[in-house]
């Protein structure tokens, strides 16, 4: 329990640190939203007028605390450009990105775990090397290129089997569930296949390590078959490492998803961030970055807790050290 509290305090400290980093980093950037708004032909006075209208001429420290003050009340601010509340903007984008990431992760887990376990347990070398090849090539495909190949294969209007939409997200959003889901299939497959391949590598390597350890020998000595030992003991021992990898994969997906969202013209978080950053809508960017960071910090927090509770060896080792 003490560990949980300590870890939670670390989580909060990290959040505060990241808010300062984000705020400061964004203020260093050249250009500002007022000149973007004013455009090519505006006289400098017009830019200055817009700046003061938007409160950009206040001291930075005041801007930071007014932002943090808002955050404490759950108010992420209002976009300077779109005039919408940032939480509603992010909610709208998240309704595209999160299902995409979750779907991608489901595909990745289905592919990665299954194939990883099968590949480790396979006794015929030819089968094993085939799996190995799939894992390695799958993980080596540039997301951009993989997406393009899928579009060429399945994209409606362009593909060989033009059965799936490859562009955009329905305007009605999730209220037209079928088409919303359909529009995420290809992007999710792109993300999932590529990440599934690297997950498979990790599964193989984690499980492979465990399989070579004395634990499995011991389990087999107790009368388990190799397969039973792998599934009952091996997977459990490999889980902590896999949880870490999957957790980090979540963060990695945002990176991959930026390109994917752009390629499939999805109005998601990554695409939105690029636009907002391009427009120097700093209030929007800083809140979006903060939300992302908070989310991933939280995932990291959970991963650590899980890791801790899932790996008895680590627990004992640390306790031993503490004593």
């Amino acid at each position: 329990m003490r560990f949980v509290i300590r870890r939670f305090l670390l989580f909060v400290a990290a959040l505060l640190a990241i808010s300062v980093v984000i705020f400061a980093a964004l203020r260093i950037l050249p250009g500002d939203v007022a000149s973007v708004m004013a455009g090519l032909n505006a006289p400098p006075e017009r830019v200055a007028q817009l700046r003061s209208q938007m409160g950009l001429d206040r001291p930075l420290i005041v801007q930071y605390f007014s932002w943090m003050g808002g955050l404490l009340h759950g108010d992420f601010g209002t976009s300077l450009l779109t005039g919408r509340s940032i939480s509603s903007m992010v909610a709208m984008r998240a309704s595209v990105t999160f299902p995409l990431i979750v779907l991608g992760l489901v595909v990745a887990l289905a592919i990665g775990l299954t194939l990883g376990v099968v590949a480790t347990l396979a006794t015929r070398p030819a089968v094993r090397s085939a799996f190995h090849f799939v894992a390695i090539v799958g993980g080596a495909i540039p997301a951009l290129w993989g997406g393009l190949l899928l579009i060429l294969l399945f994209g409606r209007g362009t593909g060989l089997l033009g059965i799936l939409p490859s562009q955009g997200f329905p305007e009605a959003g999730w209220s037209s569930f079928g088409s919303a889901l359909a529009s995420l299939v290809l992007p999710a497959l792109t993300v999932g296949i590529i990440d599934g391949a690297s997950l498979m590598r990790y599964t193989r390597s984690a499980l492979g390590d465990v399989m070579n350890s004395g634990y499995i020998d011991q389990a087999m000595a107790c009368g388990y078959t190799r397969r039973q030992a792998a599934l009952k003991v091996g997977l459990r021992l490999a889980t902590p490492q896999l949880v870490s990898v999957v957790g980090l994969m979540f963060a990695g997906m945002i990176t991959g998803v930026m390109v994917i969202e752009s390629l499939f013209a999805l109005p998601g978080i990554g695409a939105g961030l690029i636009t907002d950053l391009g427009n120097r809508d700093l209030i929007a960017v800083q809140s979006e970055l903060f939300m992302l960071a908070a989310f991933f910090l939280f995932v990291g927090f959970l991963v650590d807790l899980l890791h801790r509770f899932l790996d008895p060896r680590l627990k004992h080792a640390v306790q031993g050290g503490a004593q």
């Binding site: 050249p30 250009g31 500002d32 000149s35 973007v36 708004m37 455009g39 090519l40 032909n41 505006a42 400098p44 017009r46 817009l50 450009l81 779109t82 005039g83 919408r84 903007m89 709208m92 480790t120 015929r124 070398p125 094993r128 090397s129 085939a130 190995h132 090849f133 799939v134 090539v137 579009i151 060429l152 409606r156 209007g157 362009t158 593909g159 060989l160 033009g162 939409p165 490859s166 562009q167 955009g168 997200f169 305007e171 492979g208 390590d209 070579n212 499995i216 020998d217 752009s262 390629l263 499939f264 013209a265 109005p267 695409a271 939105g272 636009t275 391009g278 427009n279 120097r280 809508d281």
Partner: protein
Amino acid sequence: MPTNSGAYGENDATDSKATGNNENETAANVAGSSANVSDNATNTGSTGANANHDAEAKNTGSTDETLNAHVKGTSVGNVSGGTGGHGKKKGWTWAIVAAVVVVALIAAFVVIRNNRKASIAPAQVHTADSVTIGLKLAPTNLDIRNQSGSSLDQVLVGNVYEGLVARDSQNKVVPGLAKSWEKSADGMSYTFHLNRGMNFSNGDKLDASDVAWSINELVAKHYHDSEALMNFKSVTATDADTVKLDLTAPYANLLWELACRPGLVFDKNANYDMKTQAVGSGPYTVAKFVPNDSITLKANPKYWGTHKAATSTIVLRYFGDDNAAVNALKSGDVQVLAPVTENLAEPFVKDNANYRVAAGDDTDKFVLAMNSKGAKTSDLRVRQAIRYAIDHKQLIASRGGADKPLGGPIPSLDPGYQDLTGLYPHNVEKAKALMKEAGYTPDHPLELRLTYANTYGTELGDQLRSQLKPIGIDLKVNVVEFSTWLQDVLKNKDYDLSMVDHNESHDFSQWTQDSYYYNYSNQKVKDYYNQAMAASSDSQRDALLAKAARVVSEDAPADWLFNYRITTAMKSGVSGFPLNLNQTLLPLYNVRYMTQVK
């Protein structure tokens, strides 16, 4: 225009004939080649397997020891130890072959798909009640009084908001809310006679008081483009249908400016968030707005005028990615695409039974500005050499050929246009001589930076770099975000060369402002321009502007790479979609999509 679509039509005819003949041949070829591939596959597979036995034999000798020492049970040991086991290489070879086959298949399918021709079944005609249009630059908000950018003009002016006057597809002023107007003899007073029975989409009446209020607000609050209303003195509603606008001095561009943002009329009684909503008097209302993604327009049921919407719902979708845009048109997600990258329009040009592709005139000027006060570019010889060195025809050809060469600051749809391409014809020898005079040769090149926004792609920079190399200029191309360009070039004037698409119309005054990022200043140009703005007749104005433009071009403060003409691709059932100026002025009321129902 007609000449152009004619040219396209001819191409279409010949191309589609060729396609018809090729179709079977290609398919046969593809089948043949894939058969070959699989033959090879079996062969390599078996050799691979043979070779592998040797390797295996070698390996086992050395690994045995480890296995015995560390792991019980040889079969388990193979997991991470002797992974070089049998069949490994075979698996690899097979997989590589499989990958090659997959890639070959994809390539084959692409070829087939591109040559596929859709069949059309004769049937009855049905007018769609919804049309989706794919555009490129998305507005971030709807606040047309504050937010810059032509994407807002494109969607809102004439569709949602209406101006005191309007402009047509030739960029000429035509009646809008005002059905007629008179100008006083001294050119300093305008009287506008409004239509009767006008109203906004919320039901409020629109009369002269709204017009006067809108223009007064613009001036008082310095809204976007308020400075375009030069010499403004006052505007008053003399009665419900008459507006009188007074100037302190004549201003020849006044009417045109009133056809753009400064002339837009807003409801003085309405209270709404202009960033997310729009209440205007035009044929459409904004039903839904998703920033950077889409705008849904619905026909305004309370519309007062003659431009009644032909299609009840129009969805504007924005595609940052050109490929995404083309796929959307191909898959039928959108029925019109404007602009379409010309090189990408090829499949649509070929498939002329289903699509129509045409280019329209526009006022987009790709300006390669050369900092007139820059340390290296202040030398007139360098700037002239650059203009001689650039092969404009080649640039245009590489983009597909629709764009027009432009030798000066005024494009053909703007007043004062004159063909100035003869001033600096492509002449590498002359350029070299000028550079040599300035002290640079290919062996001792002048290093220059070219800064431009990433929205224009990398091709132009690469081409300019290679075109300027032989005359002794080492061009460093710096592609940046638009915001950064605004900061570095527009605001701080920290650049050698800059490229930007100045798509504004009637923007010659840029060359008369010392503070503008060009750093250009010539009293003669200012005098001509001021005389032109004070001119009493349009022809007099145009002649003076042409003179000013010639002086600017001769001074070579910039090179005008080309006049970008927008290429539009649409399904063949679409009619009423404007081609000219459609990135700034896109009246949608007449757009229809007729489909054939079986």
